[in-house]
């Protein structure tokens, strides 16, 4: 019981998925004659994953609370289009564009939250409506044409790299911060008289995390450095995991998804919590939109199509329950990695897009089936 609160909260399904991920990587490495496992390709892979990951992080919250958000693709497309218009048509600066676009994301979240939390319209319906509304809105604001090119500074968000030397510094700082965090949490536990025996497990974990950081930075600097969108995702994972596990809002989300009535009887403000969830989802959708436009260096009318399915699939593969109450942010990232690896590996092998889509669809069922069947055995 001692290290539960500080353990990165990954559940059984995620462990299965980490194994599956390793298996997928081994297979693709073999099939591509090593082409898959080059620093360049790995760097590309996680860069490609970043947009799905940003959306999946928000989707975990939404789904844990027992909702769903079908509109994230359209909203990302729409906010991305707005960003392009601000830059191209109005010549706004990059910081200004980003701030206003994120603000629009919040407003969209407010709109959805109003219907879902305060008017009691199911999220499925509300977001299905928004999916259509914002798909239409994209056409409306872009007048059906592609908008480009964007300024160099804006392109950095989705395409830029942190230079290798700064990447190394970041890695070292990250490692040190992690060590400090571990020490302090140990001290805090001792202060409360909570059993902190078993330094061994703790040391293994610390070594594991530090190794992971070094490996990551090592691979990234072998190419161009840490991609900026990946840095954004990493930041979000840390912040959102903290929110999910260590803030009252986060725990209320899980309580509402687990048993809404019991949560209400325990004094949880369900409306406010639901509203906050959709505000966060709106914000993250807009962030995804910015990264998308920046990466493509353009806003297209079809931008973001189908992203909601990738995000939902990532969350589910990563252990989020469709019934609510269960799910983790790191899990969803692993889910997103699984999806992106399949995408990346198969396109390396020049496999047709049609087959790729079929495989991705099958993987979703397979992942959940694996989880269900392992659970059965351990009853």
């Amino acid at each position: 019981m001692t290290d539960k609160s500080k353990r990165i909260n990954i559940d059984a399904r995620s462990y299965t998925m980490i194994l599956a991920l390793v298996a997928i990587w081994v297979i693709f490495t073999a099939l591509t004659g090593g082409g898959f496992l080059t620093p360049r390709n790995l760097s590309n892979l996680i860069r490609q994953m970043s947009i799905t990951a940003i959306l999946a992080i928000g989707m975990v919250l939404v789904m844990v609370a027992g909702h769903i958000d079908l509109s994230v693709g359209s909203v990302a497309g729409f906010t991305g289009a707005l960003a392009a218009i601000m830059q191209v048509n109005y010549g706004w600066s990059t910081p200004m564009t980003i701030i206003v676009t994120l603000g629009v994301g919040l407003l969209i979240g407010l709109w959805q939250g109003f219907w879902i939390a305060y008017q009691g319209v199911p999220a499925f319906i509300t977001t299905l409506s928004s999916m259509l509304v914002f798909r239409g809105a994209i056409l409306l604001v872009t007048k059906g044409v592609t908008i480009s090119p964007l300024s160099d500074s804006f392109k950095l968000v989705g395409q830029g790299y942190i230079s290798p030397s700064i990447s190394i510094i970041l890695g070292i700082v990250g490692g040190i911060l992690y060590l400090i965090f571990e020490m302090r949490s140990r001290q805090a536990k001792m202060k409360y008289g909570i059993d902190v025996s078993g330094w061994n497990a703790g040391i293994m974990r610390i070594i594991g995390v530090l190794l992971l950081i070094s490996l990551f930075v090592g691979i990234m600097i072998s190419y161009e450095g840490i991609p900026i969108p990946v840095l954004i995702v990493l930041g979000l994972v840390i912040v959102m995991t903290f929110i999910a596990n260590n803030t009252t809002f986060g725990r209320y989300v899980y309580a509402i998804g687990g048993n809404r009535e019991a949560a209400a009887y325990s004094g949880v403000n369900i409306k406010k919590t639901n509203m906050t969830i959709f505000l966060i989802m709106g914000l993250l959708s807009a962030l995804a939109g910015i990264v998308l436009t920046s990466r493509l260096n353009a806003a297209t009318t079809s931008a973001g199509t189908g992203f909601e399915m990738d995000a939902i699939a990532s969350a589910i593969i990563g252990g989020t329950s469709t019934l609510g109450g269960v799910g983790t942010v790191p899990g969803a990232i692993i889910g997103a990695l699984v999806m992106a690896s399949i995408d990346n590996g198969m396109s390396l092998m020049n496999i047709d897009y049609s087959i790729l889509t079929i495989v991705k669809g099958l993987v979703l069922v397979l992942a959940v089936w694996m989880d269900v069947s392992t659970k059965k055995r351990t009853v």
Partner: protein
Amino acid sequence: MSDEYVIEMRSIIKDFPGVRALNNVTFKVKKGEIHALCGENGAGKSTLMKILSGVYPYGTYEGDIVVDGEVKRFNNTRDSENAGIAIIYQELTLVKYMTVGENIYLGNEPIKNGIIDWNKVYADAAKLLKELHININPRTKVMNLGVGMQQMVEIAKALSKNAKILILDEPTSALTEAETELLFKILLDLKQRGVTCIYISHKLDEIFHIADTVTVLRDGSTVCTDCVADMTEDKIITAMVGRELTEQFPRVEHTAKDVVMEIRNYTVYDPDIPDKKLIDNVSFEIRRGEILGLAGLMGAGRTELASSIFGGFNARREGEVYINGEKVDIKTPIDAINNGIAYLSEDRKRYGLVLLMDIAENIALPNYGKISRFSVIDNNKKIKYANSYVKELNIKTPSITQKAANLSGGNQQKVVIAKWLMSEPKVLILDEPTRGIDVGAKHEIYNIMNKLVDQGVAIVMISSELPEILGMSDRILVMHEGKFTGEFNHKEADQEIIMRAATGGK
């Protein structure tokens, strides 16, 4: 009754992660008897029955199950049904939106020419219900039935599968007295027809009423199996808890102080029928340092009154609530909690617990204000509180990170009690606080109530068990059909006076 055993469970061992729930249990049931199974919360009663009924399949436990002299390996509940074993869980498993007939034959629908023969469904269901002397129309939707009747439907469902052995896990914990009587009549009737019955209950008087034999489990082992005729209540209790329990109700004289909460002219309307009053213009007050017992029959409106005061009952209401002399407007449980009111619901699975969450989180849920700063939770404080309540209430669990779903019924109840204790309320409303709790734990809870009252908490205790009302309350209010029909000091009250008021008589 013959001497052969219909069921023999031999040397059963069942492990859960971190807990050995059953350790070498031997359990033998004779044909045609009503066999009671007793034991403290977490002793392993439900687990043993889940093994017998195939919920935990062959291979997940050690030991043998012998039915009618034949060793059986059940892979699922269907296998055990085929062997004539049916289990009725404490949580009813009927589909609310389906009719009684549909429920009885769910999964076993009679088929004619490839389609369901509905006429046969309803004709057979009617016949079955009639045999059991249950007076309900098989075309009624289950959601329109009370808990008691739903239980009868469960029994009918079990019998429709030709069950020879019927297992009932705490069947009466949600039944009214009349319903309990009816259930007993049916069970005795079934006994005449040669059906064997295994009966789990924490209510010892029931066991003496209907059981022939009793087996006591303690900490996952069999303590004894005896003829009920050779047993006394005290003997069973001693076998259960491993020591003697002196008085059942630890009465402590309290002195009531100033009024903390006052309810004036309170009316609650039926959520479905706008003009029907569930609570009709009641007024009462509760003082610091007293236990107010709310007595009455089930359905009298006590739960509606309490949950409405707490802001949890979604229906129109009128009247005023004063806390420490100040008028308050409680719209939601949040307002109630902020005003120092805590309400322990009678339905712990529905309103009390998030089953997917662990013990620590369940206890902390209404109390995050206390262990967080700027919304950031101090997880160490959470662990500390949880550990101290697990110890104080003697919650049986390997660790506080155990999911609430994995606890035995009584230990779940203790978790809900812990979460409201942690909120340090001024007014604590307990709705059937000892439901599903064993005698030893009841005693602990009574002691805690006394301690709280001494600290100045006001307790409102709703209970359908008269001995509990009489044994613990300082003052007793009796409710009948939404009105108070009597108020007594505990010294002047007895069962008869209260029952008369509870049934509306003067």
